[in-house]
């Protein structure tokens, strides 16, 4: 066991190291560098994964509505922030709704609004839907996401969401660090929530609903709370994604996006925040960088390596998901969190093993 003080120092050192890496990447790489993409996209997916984990992993509500809340967040953010000068260009086909013409919120306000809109919808949809049992809940939330997607692209909203054409010219942070600030802030809030009494109530509900109720936990209130908060942060993740991509349409956030986030959560471990963050970075780095070669044909002299062509990467990802579900059900971290004790214990074990080996000789 390590003393509390050592652990604190270790944590501080690790955080400083992380910040240093982010700053180094920000300072010393070109804006087209792969590292930047991986870090920014990884951070956004980390937030999305942690928010999904709050609902699915910590509270045990199997919700698949992520994509719907991301759409809500992304559209709210985009509609509120597109500069009024470029609105005429963006809405060239349908024209812009009169109340929107002059509207232009600062980025933080728009982010907050994005989260609040999604939270409102989550509250309304949660009232009926959260009474359902696990698998019905999954289908109902999946259906909700699909409804959101259809409604955003529908013609009555043409003058707000630009129908099926989608929105472009979405402004982002001037600085490279903006996204990290938002993501770290949001994840910190989620971690605080999970460690609070509410968080313990969530875990109790996950482990045994009936026992939790007998202990005096108000089930519907806590489920609703977890669902709403999870959607709030999913929407902020969606807004960050809109910011990162600069253009969105109703087909940006499909069911496949929800599945991809689920893949990250499962690989990281259902019920582990650090697991989700780690796995988001790993999965994004593999998808955008390390495994890119799988999509290109590869030649050794005249020999063409079989199987490699467009789409193989995603096949590998789905196989990984299946392997994790079937054989390593706990993922990287299981329900545990990252802890210095675990690392210390691991090295100590390794050391003692070596010692005994040496003695045996």
């Amino acid at each position: 066991m390590l003393s509390k003080k050592t652990k604190k120092i270790c944590t501080a050192a690790a955080l400083v190291a992380l910040a240093a890496v982010i700053v180094c990447v920000g300072q010393f790489t070109k804006s087209t560098s792969m590292l930047r993409t991986v870090f920014q996209l990884g951070a956004i997916y980390a937030l999305l994964a942690v928010s999904m984990n709050l609902c699915n992993g910590f509270t045990g509500l199997f919700s698949l509505g992520q994509a719907g809340f991301m759409t809500l967040g992304a559209y709210t953010y985009a509609v509120l922030t597109i500069p009024s000068a470029s609105r005429a260009g963006v809405y060239y086909l349908y024209g812009v709704a009169p109340w929107l013409e002059k509207l232009e919120l600062p980025i933080p306000a728009a982010l907050l609004a994005a989260g609040l809109v999604a939270a409102l919808f989550a509250y309304l949809i949660g009232l009926p839907v959260l009474r359902l049992k696990s698998d019905y809940l999954a289908i109902a939330t999946l259906g909700f996401a699909e409804v959101v997607r259809i409604v955003t692209a529908s013609s009555p909203l043409n003058r707000v969401t630009n129908g099926s054409l989608g929105l472009t010219m979405i402004p982002g942070f001037k600085s490279y660090y903006g996204i990290f600030a938002v993501v770290i802030g949001c994840i910190a809030v989620i971690v605080l929530l999970i460690n609070s009494t509410y968080g313990r109530a969530f875990k109790a509900i996950r482990d045994d609903e009936i026992a939790a109720e007998a202990m005096g936990i108000n089930l519907s209130k806590h489920k609703q709370m977890s669902f709403v908060i999870s959607s709030f942060f999913a929407a902020i993740g969606g807004a960050l994604m809109a910011m990162y991509m600069g253009a969105i349409s109703s087909t940006t956030f499909t069911i496949a996006v929800t599945y991809f986030i689920l893949l990250i959560v499962v690989i990281g471990g259902m019920g582990s925040v650090t697991g989700s963050i780690l796995s988001a970075l790993l999965v994004i780095a593999s998808r955008e960088w390390w495994l890119r070669f799988l999509d290109q044909p590869l030649y050794f002299g005249t020999f063409r390596v079989p199987l490699l062509k467009t789409g193989f990467r995603m096949v590998i990802f789905s196989v990984i998901l299946m392997v994790v579900v079937l054989f390593f059900r706990k993922g990287i971290m299981g329900e545990r969190e990252f802890s210095w004790d675990a690392i210390y214990g691991f090295f100590k074990k390794l050391g003692s093993k070596k010692k005994t080996e040496v003695q045996a000789k």
């Binding site: 839907v129 999954a138 409604v151 096949v315």
Partner: protein, 293 residues
């Protein structure tokens, strides 16, 4: 009036295809308590099998149909053995994630093999012929689909009610463990359920894609979700319920599509789902389940 009848016919036709797929959901759910998320994608793969058989291998249509159904059944049973069987005793969420994983895999695999571009579906000459009844003109396949479906459903109900394996299926869906104690071979019953579900999905896919004439990797996901809604509407676990649910969803969808709100036809299906789950959680024909502590 003509338009009304025309819509009725189209609605019944699409509704009966939904029913065929919904039966696959409803039977698997009845026995395993698992939403087979991959079912819609099995349906999509069946579409590609038909393209391979008829367009690439130039096999005549009557043989192709048999091959497609056989291949679909094989795919379904393999999925059950690989992805669901090892998780029999695992928490429900793991099995569900596994099902989602299979669905994700099939979509990506289809994109990899056949590219994301729609592929044109082969035509079966006599099924695409136009038939004229009064003032309604339609293709023969639209006309044949509901009849075939009703026949299949009757056959299936007979199978479940009268045969030994049907009795085993009913017993397993009532109580998994007791059925096992009575000497029912659970695994063969489950495999048989998948055989039936996938065979119907194969037939459904042929009937579905002939009038639509193209297949793409995501072609199964939305119909799959809708068919699940149909299964829930009719009462999960009930075969006639799936038929009625399929017809109702198909008809309502067709009528909305022909009205001014055509964009919202898919959204409406999910609103039905939420309303049904709230007001009538066991569906139209489902058995009432008591929650045990």
């Amino acid at each position: 009036m003509d338009a009304f009848l025309q819509n009725c016919l189209t609605g019944l036709s699409i509704g009966s295809i939904y029913a065929l797929i919904a039966i696959g959901y409803t039977m698997v759910y009845g026995i395993l308590r698992l939403i087979n998320f991959a079912h819609g994608d099995i349906f999509m793969m069946a579409g590609y099998f038909m393209i391979i058989c008829m367009t690439d291998l130039l096999i005549p249509w009557y043989l192709s149909i048999i091959l497609v159904i056989a291949a679909t059944v094989l795919l379904g049973v393999c999925i059950e053995k690989v992805a669901y069987k090892p998780l029999r005793s695992a928490p429900r969420m793991s099995v569900m994630i596994s099902a989602i994983g299979v669905s994700y895999f099939l979509q990506n695999f289809a994109t990899y093999l056949f590219s994301a571009q729609p592929k044109s579906y082969p035509t079966i000459g006599f099924l695409s012929k136009t038939v004229q009844i009064g003032n309604i003109s339609t293709t023969l396949v639209t006309f044949v689909t509901p009849l075939l479906t009703v026949l299949l459903v009757i056959a299936l109900v007979m199978l479940v009610k009268k045969t030994k394996i049907g009795m085993a299926m009913r017993a397993v869906s009532r109580d998994f463990e007791t059925a096992q104690l009575m000497g029912i071979k659970i695994n063969s019953v489950i495999s048989f359920t998948f055989v039936i579900g996938c065979a119907l999905a194969g037939i459904g896919s042929i009937l579905y894609f002939i009038p639509r004439s193209s297949v793409y990797p995501l072609a199964g996901s939305l119909p799959g979700l809708k068919c699940f809604v149909a299964a829930v509407f009719g009462g999960i676990g009930s075969i006639p319920g799936a038929l009625v649910g399929g017809f109702l969803i198909g008809l309502s969808e067709t009528f909305i599509k022909s009205s001014a709100y055509s964009e919202f036809s898919d959204a409406f299906t999910f609103i039905i789902l939420i309303v049904v789950l709230l007001c009538l959680p066991t569906g139209l024909f489902g058995e009432k389940i008591k929650e045990k502590v």
